[in-house]
Symmetry: C2
Subunit: 383 residues, 2 copies
């Protein structure tokens, strides 16, 4: 469209020039000197207006505060409004009022349900008929499987052949998705998914590089601010950046004064380094118990995080484990290592939180308990 | 007083008889024949009225519904109003609406805090000055320690020398009680406590054979009925019977139509057998992972249970473990084996619960997690 306007403006100008040159030879120079940049200026103005109206991000729609509000209306009847929990001991330890938004109590045991449902529910009827696909062995797989199931959409999940049986069973038997195995490499996963997309026309639901998934993830913060008044700071873990970008978008849209802190395992600190260097960095190892935070940022999540997050801090494996153990032993809630990162961030006291009201997003609680229950099995078999 | 009334009635009667015999010799026989049993009948009526008003139980005050209401006013600012949790999966499994009253989120991680605080807060100033004592290695020890601490009362806890270090530390260091060790036998425990009581004049806070402890325990059900409308049945575990008697007293006082079911491990089914035989039975083994339910009923708790509980059922160790695992894996809450018993009772389907609203008291969540976290420690030490 822009090029069309440019071309028609050009041809109109050419006609004017030919006529003017013939009738008023003196006038032309002055007109040319003042109007030389007119098409260019017009082009720039039009581009700017189009960009503002459409919120283009490259070819993509940019996510906004309003999208999170809309996402919440879309998903709220199908998700759990998860509780906010507090601990006298924790408050005393950090000398602040800390409110844990417990997404471990979300359906499928993690916040991922919010984004998956928001994304799949907005597909066209045609896309829904063809089905969706995800490649993941973690919470996102189960979220896509359950959300698709609730919406009557066929889901295919590509999982590494080494995935724990309990996860395969949950995805396939409990939530009714088709599971397709692949070699346990990232390359094999995305190639297998791509092949299936080409064959069947499935729509890929990416775990974080997807605007609707990000908007859905932001609804956890929306609920938290509805449940607790006067929060001054929010901590959220960062892996691919879906949760942190959704959270920061909501928080800054709600009140720019509220600080948003991302927390990342020190061993896989790509987001921390990206935040400093200004370009997307990658990890050399995956040595962290926070297995949900091993991925790198995408252009989309990074652009949101750069704009809306105040600081990213890192925590050691020891700090993650201590925070997890605190939640289990003292608060009696099961949180996974990735979910414990934000709590570890608060407990690390890198950020001054004294006398503040602090929101902490606990992302999930899916932990393999087989070893622990095997110990108890042994105990009762001796009775 | 009763004897006084009896004697004065007797002397009045004697005067009437003497006068009548003198003036109307014929009348006397008829009067005597009709009034012969009058003093006896009066005596019985007066005794009955006194008994009803005072609710005497031997020499002890009997616990009543009103005591639970009063206990709640006394303790409510110092305890947690614990949340009620639900699970779609659980509801589908038993085809009912199940509401878990999560006392694992209570202070010190168990309902015991309610009874301990209620009992200690009602001691006289003199008794408070002398201090309290309890013999326990479990939740009651920590409850007495914390409640005493909050009330500025000195607490001494007699613990077997084999108690896990983590429990000793919590009782002593976190809650500030004095810990006295004894040989690991029930006899040594009560003898050690008795000796200290004689030496220092401490008041013993029994874990369940205590009216104020029972009234305090009943406040968990009080809160549950405040949080959920229309419950038709309540399940609670039974060990010494403090929780079950407090719960049943509240429930039947609230609405006689609501059923109260006690749940006990099959391996230590003394309460179940007592309920059938009508006399207090004991266990021959302590072979249950539900280590909070190994004790026997007391006369006090048994008298309340006989009157207010509709049924006691038993569950196997396997059923207890399955219920515990369900809560951990699917609901992401840490509940201890004793606390899982009532849930196991519902899941066992021995009692028809279809389409009913069911309350389930989850008593606590104190589980030793050392082994589990050692596994994770190993994992991070390899990074």
């Amino acid at each position: 469209m822009t090029i069309g306007i440019f071309l028609s403006l050009k041809s109109i100008l050419r006609k004017i020039i030919i006529k003017t040159r013939y009738r008023h030879p003196g006038l032309l120079k002055r007109v040319i000197s003042s109007c030389l940049f007119l098409p260019l200026i017009l082009f720039i103005i039009i581009q700017y207006i189009l960009m503002r109206n459409k919120n283009n991000f490259g070819n993509r729609k940019m996510v906004e505060y309003a999208d999170i509000l809309e996402a919440y209306q879309r998903i709220k009847t199908e998700i759990n409004k998860t509780p906010v929990m507090t601990s006298r001991t924790l408050n005393a330890m950090v000398n602040a009022k800390v409110f844990l938004k417990c997404e471990n109590f979300q359906r499928i045991g993690a916040f991922k349900m919010r984004g998956a449902f928001n994304a799949i529910s907005q597909l066209t009827e045609e896309e829904k008929k063809r089905g969706v696909i995800a490649h993941s062995s973690g919470n996102h797989a189960q979220a896509v499987a359950l959300a698709a199931n609730l919406l009557g959409v066929k889901a295919t999940i590509v999982m590494p052949s080494t995935s724990p049986k309990v996860k395969v069973n949950a995805t396939r038997d409990t939530y009714g998705a088709e599971v397709v195995f692949c070699d346990p490499t990232i390359k094999a996963r995305s190639e297998t998914a791509q092949k299936l997309i080409e064959q069947h026309g499935y729509t890929l639901i990416h775990p974080y590089d997807n605007e609707d998934v990000i908007a859905g993830a932001g609804t956890a913060a929306l609920e938290l601010f509805d449940q607790v008044n006067g929060l001054q700071m929010v901590f959220a873990p960062v892996g691919g950046g879906g949760l942190l970008s959704g959270t920061s978008l909501f928080v800054k849209g709600y009140n720019k004064e509220i600080k948003v802190i991302g927390v990342e395992p020190k061993n896989v600190d790509d987001a921390y380094r990206s935040f400093i260097s200004g370009k997307i960095e990658v990890n050399e190892t995956t040595n962290s118990i926070a297995d949900g935070l091993l991925t790198n940022l995408s252009e989309l999540t990074f652009s949101i995080i750069k704009k809306n997050v105040d600081q990213i801090i890192t925590v050691s494996e020891r700090e993650i484990l201590n925070a997890m153990r605190f939640a289990w032993e003292r608060m009696k809630i099961i949180i996974e290592p990735s979910g414990a990162c934000s709590l570890a961030g608060v407990m690390s006291k890198q950020i001054p939180v004294e006398n503040k009201k602090i929101g902490v997003i606990i992302t999930g609680g899916n932990v393999d308990l087989t070893d622990f229950f095997n110990l108890l099995e042994n105990k009762i078999s001796n009775f």
